[in-house]
Subunit: 411 residues, 2 copies
């Protein structure tokens, strides 16, 4: 067991042993937001055949060589092809075939002229400008070549990728299973919102916020509820979580006080404690352990501290288990809009809102009160300002380094 | 009916008449990703009572006034309060009560001293430094004051907001209903991926990509499948969509060719056509209509054009119906990493990937081939570069204006 590790070590100690979930095949329609477990290679060209990008006439470019406004070339229209159909005839010298957007180019043709650029009279059409071979022809494989890798293992499936996979003819996609997460809160002081608030009690916010955070990631959640600060009860419910879930998340009971019995409960279950304590504020009292390839992450009971350490320590682990290749929060530079008066003897993460101006400059605003228990400043927070240990006060206008943890452009 | 409107007018003609969906109450645990239909006001203070932020001893500051390392003040510990419980006794001069993180401050106390800063011997504790009134006390209402509005109507519910709503004691949240969308593709050339690809046919990519895009937005989808280019069949299926959905999306059949029968099908159904054609490339052949307060948006059959116009015209409408207050894509400035050689006589949206450097500069890279049918360049696209009509070639390093349409920091 390590004590008071740096955040990056806390992440790495989990990520270095975590493996993605098993894979499964699911209908393509359900694949958006999932992660590909296998590279996708194109079994066909896209488009599958040379085709017309517009409604017009397929011709031989050679036939149009001498066309001018004064001396148009006249071709015989030998067939009209509907979209989704192929020409029955071949283009021979002096002939044209009417094609639609997306029609295959008829055999013998090497150019297409726009419908509007032709004068049609009965079976005949007049062309007033010469074409070059290849004009208005989309070649087979222009979008994707047969055999080409269109998406790698670990790719998050977007709507456009669903379209591309569909265009290649796949009805299913191989993806990683959803990550199974059990969420438990601990604390005698917590009551469920269905109950009346007695003196000294507070409503449980950790369970709903962490369940919501896991759902947002697309995980499969079991909310195991709240248990009192008793070793026995905590060990029982953590054991229940470990029986089914890939990751168990708990809140509360990880400080060093008399009622902080979560570490003892883990010890009783034979959980190997990887580390205890992370050198950051808020959220330093984190305990991470593992048993039988499963993970247990025990967060502070302070609502804001719990969510921040969840984001920085549990989310990268969950994302790696989801199969994502990029699981760490992006780090960018920004200018502080506000000052922050307190010095930071310990490394500190300030809750902020990162935004990009229309002029292309990046700012981060503090979202409010920064203490451990305060949730309000997390509501509009999309970034944590990474304040190094030993920093003094931060002035407005100062350059800072920021970890992105939410939607920047949602406003 | 208007023809060939500007994009902003195309958006506004729909948004100005669209109303958010009906509201409903749902369990708080399901509320993440939904949109609040009512402002949330705090029925209680948060925290509900003055509390200790740490494990320590609650005392009267006055009693500690003369404490020094050499001459400590000695107080009698009259009670030990567990987390979630309240003190039974009151602090009187010369006494202290042991409290835990989160404990209510006992009556008579006005300061808390850290556990580690005290020397405890039996019933007595020694303090070596004076405290000031208010030291280590979190006041009731420090996070949220009773009566305060914590989130407005139209707010997207984040995990932190779920936590905050839970902390206020609410078991449910009032949100807007999911938007019901029916998706239809049209085209004789399209085959389902369960079928074998015959000459001249292509696999249907529009239906899966648009269903995926609607699912990603959290909508309730009915995928009505593909219909051939026949007025009758199209009218029937659009009528089916309009019977149940708030918005019907179709692809294909909206150009000006012989098989572009979608507008006629709408006319037969008595749909009021709001506009036909949007002045942009790709995706100009868009038709938007309305009937009985429902909307129908008919997109190009070209896969990339369909997705781009869906994003710029349908998504803002869907977001407004979801109840979001910010429904238009964010616009930011960026530097083009690549050049684009073609001039743009018409307003053009180029598919790009917007990213923020660690130094805080914003770039946009082209994601590949830009023609109407090409899906591959949409897979990693998170931004459209807005190229004004009449632009010449764009040089690498040039400043451009960009609409954000995807995850910028997902990498």
């Amino acid at each position: 067991m390590k004590n008071n590790v740096a955040l990056e070590e806390a992440q790495d100690l989990l990520l270095s042993v975590a493996q993605p979930a098993q894979e499964c095949e699911i209908p393509l329609f359900d694949a958006v937001g999932r992660v590909l477990s296998r590279e996708i290679r194109a079994p066909i060209h896209l488009p599958p055949f040379d085709k017309s990008p517009l409604d017009g006439y397929a011709v031989r470019a050679l036939d149009t060589e001498r066309a001018t406004a004064a001396q148009p070339v006249i071709l015989e229209v030998i067939e009209e092809v509907a979209a989704g159909h192929t020409a029955g005839k071949k283009i021979t010298p002096g002939t044209a075939i009417k094609v639609m957007t997306g029609s295959p180019i008829p055999a013998g043709a090497d150019a297409v002229i726009k419908y509007e650029d032709v004068k049609r009279t009965g079976k005949l059409c007049k062309l007033f400008t010469p074409l070059r071979p290849g004009n208005n022809i989309i070649l087979a494989g222009e979008d994707v070549k047969k055999g080409e890798a269109v998406a790698g293992r670990g790719t998050l499936v977007s709507p456009a990728l669903v379209g591309l996979i569909g265009a290649l003819g796949y009805a299913e996609a191989a993806v990683f299973n959803k990550v199974k997460i059990a969420v438990i809160s601990t604390g005698d002081e917590l009551v469920d919102c269905s109950q009346k608030l007695q003196p000294g009690k507070i409503y449980n916010s950790n369970l709903p916020s962490l369940v919501a955070a896991c759902l947002k990631l697309g995980a499969q959640i079991t909310a195991l509820g709240n248990v009192p600060d008793e070793l026995e009860s905590i060990a029982d419910i953590v054991a229940l979580g470990l029986a089914d879930a890939d990751i168990v998340i708990t809140t509360g009971g990880v400080s060093v006080g008399d009622y902080d019995v979560v570490p003892d409960a883990l010890a009783r279950l034979g959980v190997y404690i990887i580390y205890r304590g992370v050198d950051m504020k808020p959220g330093s009292p984190v305990v991470a352990g593992t048993k039988d390839g499963k993970f247990i992450i025990c967060l502070s009971g302070n609502p804001a501290a719990a969510l921040i350490t969840f984001e920085l320590i549990a989310v990268p682990l969950i994302k790696k288990k989801m199969g994502l290749v990029n699981y760490l929060p992006a780090r960018v530079g920004a200018v502080m809009s506000d000052g922050f008066a307190k010095p930071s003897p310990q490394r500190r993460f300030l809750r902020g809102r990162f935004h990009v101006s229309e002029e292309g400059k990046n700012y981060v605003d503090l979202t409010g009160e920064q203490s451990n228990g305060v949730l309000k400043s997390l509501v509009n927070c999309n970034a944590y300002i990474d304040v190094p240990a030993g920093s003094g006060r931060i002035a407005a206008g100062q350059d800072v380094s920021v970890l992105i943890v939410g939607d920047v452009f949602a406003r």
